[in-house]
Amino acid sequence: MSYLAKSPWLIHYDGSSCNGCDIEVLACLTPMYDVERFGIINTGNPKHADILAITGSVNEQNIPIIKNIYDQMLEPKVVIAIGICATSGGIFRECYNVQGGVDQVIPVDVYIPGCAARPESIIDGVVKGLGVLEEKYKKYGKKR
């Protein structure tokens, strides 16, 4: 994985997910998948993070929280929607309290399907997100 130019830091927020994708994100950090090999660190501070990973759909109560975390992150930033709930609402799409996917609230760059998303596909998705981040860096550099 020498082509990773940056070591992105990641912040993870659990929307109204079922925990399935949630623990798979955590599983990525543990010995078997160990994304820290690539310099990816799960941080709790939105100001440190380049990538916002959201699991679970958006409901009435967590809209302001997701917006808040997103606004606090510095440019350029990438949003990854992990799991079917985060991409389209999944099986809970028809629930009264579910607004749908994360893209209803903030722009999403990478969608990772799967219920629950497998750690392998999460790693693939994060790598894809890095490509997007790279492009955004270039654009952002030109603007300055």
Binding site: N59, E60, Q61, E94, Y96, N97, Q99
Partner: protein, 119 residues
């Protein structure tokens, strides 16, 4: 294991609730759950489940939608969460809850979602 609700249900009157619950508490029963559901006649059906030595008993009664039910949280403190939940989701009024969230436990897109038509 077959546990039909009908076999363990005890039908009571709404005003008997507090007395029955304090009796069950005295016997050493433990509150398992409180469930609310709507009936065809638009009434609320409440189910209070208690358990002692793996023997379950469900107190059930029906109330009209505008009725007020007395809280049992003064006897079993743990009932306060169930009662707040029932109030927030169904809109059934419950009096004298030990910790009353005044309808702010759940912030839902629709008010009283379980009693109204939703998307």
């Amino acid at each position: 294991m077959i546990m039909r609700h009908e076999d363990i249900a005890i039908k009571i009157q709404p005003e008997e609730l507090v007395g029955k619950v304090s009796g069950l508490q005295g016997d050493g029963c433990r509150l398992v759950q409180i469930a609310c559901s709507k009936t065809k006649e638009n009434n609320f059906e409440l189910v209070y489940s208690f358990e002692k030595d793996y023997k379950f008993c469900n107190l059930t009664f029906e109330v009209p939608p505008d009725a007020e039910v007395e809280s049992i949280s003064s006897m079993c403190f743990s009932a306060f969460l169930y009662e707040n939940e029932i109030h927030d989701l169904f809109g059934l009024k419950i009096k004298h809850i030990a910790v009353d969230f005044q309808g702010t436990l759940y912030e839902t897109a629709v008010k009283y979602p379980m009693s109204v038509e939703t998307k």
